[in-house]
C-alpha cells in the first residue's frame, strides 16, 4: 500500500502546482476538487489492513465536503458575483512555476531534519504535505483576486490535513472533524466576503482613480 500512498502524495503536490499554473478560476476550482478527492483516498491506503469506521468517515467527509461541496460553493460564488474568469497574478505564471519548483525542493530539504514520532507509512507524506502548504501559501500571496486567495488557503489546508493524516493514530477524531468544519465555515464566510468585496470594487471609485493616476504620472 506504500506505493499508493506515495502516488497520492505526488498527485496532491502536482495538483497544487497545476493550480499555480492555471489561468482560469474555474479550472483552478476543478483542480482543487481533484486534489481533495485524492486526499480523501489517503485514509483508505493508510489503514488498508484494518479499516475502521473512523477512517471511512474521515475519507467520505473529506471527499464530500472538500471534493464536492466547497467547489460547488466557489462555483456559485464566481457565477453570482459576475467577476472576470481570469486570475490576476502579481508575478507571471512562468515565474510562479519556477518558484513552485524551488518551494518543492525547499520542502524536501526542510523535511530532512524533521523527525516525526511513531512509524510513518511512507517517507513521502511529510515532505509532500510541507510542499503543498508552501504552494498553497504561494497561491495565496501571488494571486490578487479574493476567490483565488480562498483557493490558496484551501490548498494550504489540504497540506495540513495530509500532515494530520500521517499522525492519525496520535490524534483524536474530534480534531479531524474540527479541521473539516473549520474549512467549511471559512469557505462560507469567504464566499460572502468575496461577494461584498467584488461588488464594492466594481461600484467604488478606487479602480478608476488608480488608472487615472497611471495616465497622468
Amino acid at each position: 500500500m506504500t506505493s499508493w500512498i506515495d502516488l497520492s502524495c505526488i498527485l496532491i503536490v502536482f495538483f497544487a502546482l497545476a493550480i499555480l499554473a492555471t489561468y482560469r478560476i474555474g479550472g483552478m476550482i476543478k483542480i482543487f476538487a481533484a486534489q481533495s478527492l485524492t486526499l480523501g483516498l489517503v485514509p483508505f491506503f493508510l489503514h488498508a489492513d484494518a479499516l475502521s469506521g473512523r477512517d471511512v468517515a474521515i475519507a467520505l467527509g473529506t471527499m464530500v465536503l472538500k471534493g464536492a461541496l466547497v467547489p460547488y460553493i466557489l462555483f456559485w460564488a464566481i457565477r453570482h458575483v459576475s467577476m472576470r474568469s481570469e486570475v490576476k497574478p502579481i508575478i507571471g505564471v512562468g515565474l510562479s512555476i519556477i518558484g513552485g519548483a524551488v518551494l518543492i525542493a525547499g520542502a524536501f530539504w526542510v523535511s530532512l531534519s524533521l523527525r516525526l514520532p511513531g512509524k510513518q507509512a511512507s517517507d513521502l507524506v511529510l515532505p509532500c504535505s510541507l510542499a503543498t502548504v508552501l504552494l498553497g501559501f504561494m497561491i495565496m500571496v501571488t494571486r490578487t483576486r479574493a476567490v483565488t486567495q480562498v483557493l490558496g488557503y484551501l490548498v494550504m489546508e489540504n497540506g495540513i490535513f495530509l500532515f494530520a493524516l500521517s499522525l492519525f493514530n496520535a490524534m483524536p477524531t474530534l480534531i479531524e472533524m474540527g479541521i473539516l468544519l473549520d474549512i467549511f465555515a471559512a469557505v462560507f464566510i469567504m464566499a460572502i466576503v468575496v461577494n461584498h468585496i467584488n461588488e464594492e470594487f466594481e461600484k467604488g471609485p478606487a479602480a478608476v482613480s488608480r488608472s487615472k493616476m497611471g495616465e497622468t504620472f
Binding site: 506505493s3 506515495d6 502516488l7 502524495c9 505526488i10 503536490v13 502536482f14 502546482l17 497545476a18 499554473a21 489561468y23 505564471v93 512562468g94 512555476i97 519556477i98 513552485g100 519548483a101 518543492i104 525542493a105 524536501f108 517517507d123 513521502l124 515532505p127
Partner: protein, 310 residues
C-alpha cells in the same frame, strides 16, 4: 563485425518500417474522435512514396544549407535510432554518456532546420525558426532533467541501462519518480514533435505554427526526408517512454517484443486522444507548459534524490 552490421540494419528496418504507421494510427484515432472515417493507417507510406517520386524545386536565393538540411535531419534521426534500445532489440551503439550524444544529434538536426528556414529569407519562416529555437531551449531543460533523474535511479548514463531492462521493474519501489518522469517526457514528446497543445501538425496557417512553417519551402524528395525524419523522431520518443511504462518482463523475446509493440500502439492511440481532446495553446502559454514539464522533471529529480539518500 558482420553481426554488428546486421543488428544495425535490423534496427533501422524496424524503425523505418514502423514510424509512418505510428503517424498513421495517430491520424486515424484523430479522425475517429472527430466522427470521420479517416484515411487508412498506411496513408503516410503512400504520401512518402508520392513525395519521393517528385522533383525538388529550389529558390535562387537559397544556398547549400537549404539543400543539406533534409539530409542532415534524416541522417541525425537514423543515428539517434542507433543509440536507443527498442523493446528486446538492444541499442547497436551504446557507451557511457550516449544520452548527451543523442540530445546533441537532435540539436544538430534542429540547427540545420532552423538555418535552412532562415536561408530562404522568408519572414514567416524566420518567425517559425525563432519559436522553434525558444521552445526547444525549454524542452531541452526538461529532457535533461529527466535524464539526470533516470541516471540517479540506474547509476548509469547510457540509454541501454536507463530505459533498458531493469528500470521498469522498480515500479513498486519508486513509482512516483517514474510517473513524474513519464508525465514530463510526454509533454516533451508533444513539444518536440509539434503535436497539438504546442503546435498543430495539420494547420498551414503561417502565423500560428512552428514546425510546419519552417518546411514551407521544401518540396519533393527533400520534404519527404523531412516528414520521414519527423515520423521517426516521434516513434523514437515514444520508444523512450513506452519501456518505462511496462512494469514486467516475460523473459521470452518474442512475447516481450509483442508487449513493446502493443505498448507503442497504445501510445499512438493515447497521443491521438490527447490531440483530439485538447485545443492548441496560445503561443505565449506554450512556454508555461514546457516550464511545467521542467518543474515535474525537477520534482521527480528531488524525489529520486530523497529516495536515493534514504
Amino acid at each position: 563485425m558482420k553481426n554488428v552490421m546486421l543488428t544495425i540494419f535490423f534496427h533501422w528496418v524496424i524503425v523505418l518500417a514502423l514510424a509512418p504507421l505510428f503517424v498513421g494510427v495517430i491520424a486515424k484515432v484523430k479522425a475517429m474522435f472527430a466522427g470521420k472515417k479517416g484515411a487508412p493507417v498506411v496513408q503516410p507510406y503512400f504520401e512518402l512514396a508520392r513525395l519521393f517520386r517528385k522533383q525538388c524545386v529550389y529558390s535562387r536565393t537559397t544556398t547549400w544549407i537549404f539543400r543539406a538540411s533534409p539530409i542532415v535531419g534524416f541522417g541525425a534521426v537514423l543515428l539517434f535510432a542507433l543509440l536507443l534500445p527498442l523493446g528486446v532489440c538492444k541499442a547497436p551503439m551504446r557507451f557511457s554518456g550516449d544520452i548527451l550524444l543523442a540530445a546533441y544529434i537532435l540539436a544538430l538536426a534542429r540547427f540545420f532546420m532552423i538555418t535552412a528556414a532562415l536561408d530562404t529569407g522568408n519572414s514567416f519562416e524566420g518567425m517559425g525558426s525563432s519559436r522553434e529555437a525558444f521552445f526547444s531551449c525549454l524542452s531541452e531543460l526538461a529532457l535533461f532533467m529527466n535524464f539526470i533523474t533516470l541516471a540517479i535511479m540506474t547509476r548509469s548514463i547510457s540509454f541501454s541501462r536507463m530505459i533498458g531492462a531493469d528500470v521498469p521493474l522498480s515500479w513498486p519501489h519508486s513509482n512516483p519518480v517514474l510517473l513524474l518522469v513519464v508525465a514530463s517526457l510526454f509533454i516533451v514528446l508533444l513539444a518536440e514533435n509539434c503535436r497539438i497543445p504546442v503546435d498543430d501538425p495539420d494547420t498551414h496557417l503561417e502565423l500560428t505554427m512552428i514546425h510546419e512553417v519552417m518546411i514551407l519551402d521544401h518540396s519533393g524528395v527533400d520534404l519527404a526526408y523531412l516528414l520521414y525524419a519527423g515520423a521517426v523522431k516521434l516513434f523514437l520518443f515514444a520508444g523512450i517512454i513506452v519501456p518505462l511504462l511496462i512494469p514486467f518482463r516475460t523473459g521470452d523475446p518474442v512475447k516481450d517484443m509483442a508487449v513493446f509493440l502493443a505498448g507503442m500502439l497504445g501510445m499512438a492511440v493515447f497521443i491521438g486522444a490527447v490531440e483530439s481532446s485538447m485545443a492548441r495553446l496560445r503561443l505565449n502559454r506554450v512556454r508555461n507548459l514546457l516550464l511545467i514539464a521542467a518543474a515535474l522533471a525537477f520534482f521527480g529529480f528531488v524525489v529520486a534524490l530523497w529516495r536515493g539518500g534514504a
